[in-house]
Amino acid sequence: MIERRPILDFLTHLLLIIGVAAVCFPIWMTLVASTHEGSRLARDPLPIWFGTNGFETYSAILVEGTNGTVPVWLMMANSLIMALGITAGKIVISLTAAYAVVFFRFPGRMLAFWMIFITLMLPVEVRILPTFDIAADMFKPVRSLWDVLSGDVALSAWLGYEIKVEIPKLSLLNSYQGLILPLIASATATFLFRQVFLTIPDELVEAAKMDGAGPWRFFRDILVPMSRTNIAALTIILFIYGWNQYLWPLLVTTDADYTTVVMGIQRMVNSGEAEPIWNEIMGTAVLAMLPPVIVVLAMQKLFVKGLTEQEK
């Protein structure tokens, strides 16, 4: 407090309480709605306190789903697999890429750095269709290259007889690989680890080398342990990022068994002819936000660190 201004103090608290109430109220209503029967929600006065139907709502959606969807436990499991896969994938390939860029001098180093940087400029939303095409047919670039270079002609001439190479189709649609792989390239994670690695003192590297540590040993026994708070902080941010993915799962999964919960809720809302069953939709919303919200609240300090570090 710089100076005493009791009225201003009072107004400050009032403002904060109103702010907190306004921010929390939508979630309050979501919780309330999930504990009432569907028919009660449309009757005046609209409920603002909990009902008694919560157990029925949650057990119904978890086990059976709603409006003909797959059970919500399956959606949650899919989301978990996707979120963990994206998190682990991003961290591993960013750690190794940052290690290579910082500690080695190799041809193409700048090119690699710029290619990773470019991913920042191409969010999935701006390349929806062609990315879907690639996921449906992973070897398409190889096939195009083969055709452009007239690979068949060259190979036939070299072998001395006619040959036609068929490059097979490999599709990632409706698979966990499809949900995870296209999302694990990460410029931000790579840059973050690069920053961390650049602060490691030269003496430490020299000492490790003197003691006979090779590049792999140094990475595993010194670099990774030294970055573990950064890794932990980033894990939180990336888990939330992965769990909350929407557009990509929507595109690559047509098989309902791969529905993730954040994306699946949309099918409950826009269920065509059938009226949306609001208590069950809100119950699903609660379940869908629970894991990331718990992570944020339980690890607030790490979360704030992870978030603010991305700025740098």
Partner: protein, 294 residues
């Protein structure tokens, strides 16, 4: 680019270490972007069997299309509204929280968790709260004499997705503003107070200017969020409707390509959006480079 003086020798090992990231980047980022660039110059028949080079016709058509231009302006209005509101509300709350030092952490805990709520869920929750028959906000408005029906009224539908997008983004901005405020040296504020500058004057002459790096950073982040991440908010609720009222640029890429199957037009739209992101990222990074000097 900065590099260490000491390091390890070898060529094969580092190449193998960057390879996973590069393969994914080429496959899922660079190749699709190149494809979009190329496809923007062609018109493809509905079955994808043949295509015809049309030069810039797709782009010309795009900017002659009043519906596309309308969604262009709509996206700008939407982006300005979301960014402006989310930043203003967050700044006010952060200023307040920064005044009550002892309780700042408690308020922060109560305000930051919506960050973890997915944009799609934020949309669905507000869709419910504003639903004309079961939503409590719609109910209150009806009591106040405002007829709310976002199924029929395009402006109300747009207000709905703006409200949901702002609500979700406040916590992020709050966190950065609070961190920014806490890094302002107290001695500066105290000196101004001794010189008899009141809270109002101090805010405009000290706090706001010193907060400008944070503000600028948040401006870019919020615009990117409003332009791209809100696809989920819109898709899960209004699906771009009623009659295009919530169709932003990103939503139109999706609906033209995936629903309408018009690949050439969708690709051209993708390229326009790419130009937009490249512009924004460049601005952001040029500024970050410069900020180191501060």
């Amino acid at each position: 680019m900065a590099q260490r003086r000491t390091g390890f020798r070898g060529t094969l090992l580092p190449l193998m270490l960057v390879a996973p990231q590069l393969v994914i980047t080429v496959l899922f980022f660079i190749w699709p972007a190149a494809q979009a660039l190329e496809q923007g110059f062609y018109i493809e028949d509905a079955f994808g069997f043949s295509r015809e080079w049309v030069g810039l016709a797709n782009y010309r058509e795009l900017f002659d299309d009043p519906r596309y231009l309308a969604s262009f302006w709509r996206t700008l209005i939407f982006g300005a509204a979301v960014t402006g509101l989310a930043m203003a509300i967050a700044l006010i709350l952060a200023l307040a929280a920064n005044r009550v030092l002892r309780l700042a952490l408690a308020y922060r805990t109560l305000l930051i968790w919506p960050y973890a709520v997915a944009p799609a869920l934020a949309g669905v929750i507000w869709y419910f709260l504003l639903n004309p028959s079961v939503g409590i906000y719609a109910n209150w408005m009806a009591a106040a004499g405002v007829e709310w029906n976002h199924y029929a009224d395009g402006n109300q539908a747009l207000a709905l997705v703006i409200a949901a997008s702002v609500w979700k983004q406040i916590s992020y901005n709050f966190l950065f503003f609070l961190a920014g405020l806490q890094s302002i040296p107290r001695s500066l504020i105290e000196a101004a107070a001794i010189d008899r500058a009141g809270p109002w004057t101090r805010f405009w002459t000290i706090t706001l200017p010193l907060l400008s790096p944070t503000t600028f950073f948040l401006l870019v982040v919020n615009l990117v969020y409003a332009f791209f991440d809100t696809f989920a908010t819109i898709h899960a609720t209004t699906s771009g409707g009623p009659v295009d009222a919530t169709t932003t640029l990103v939503y139109r890429v999706y609906s033209t390509g995936f629903v309408g199957q018009d690949y050439g037009a969708s690709a051209a739209q993708s390229v326009v959006l790419m130009a937009l992101v490249i512009l924004m990222t460049t601005v952001q990074f040029r500024y970050v480079e410069r900020r180191v000097v501060y």
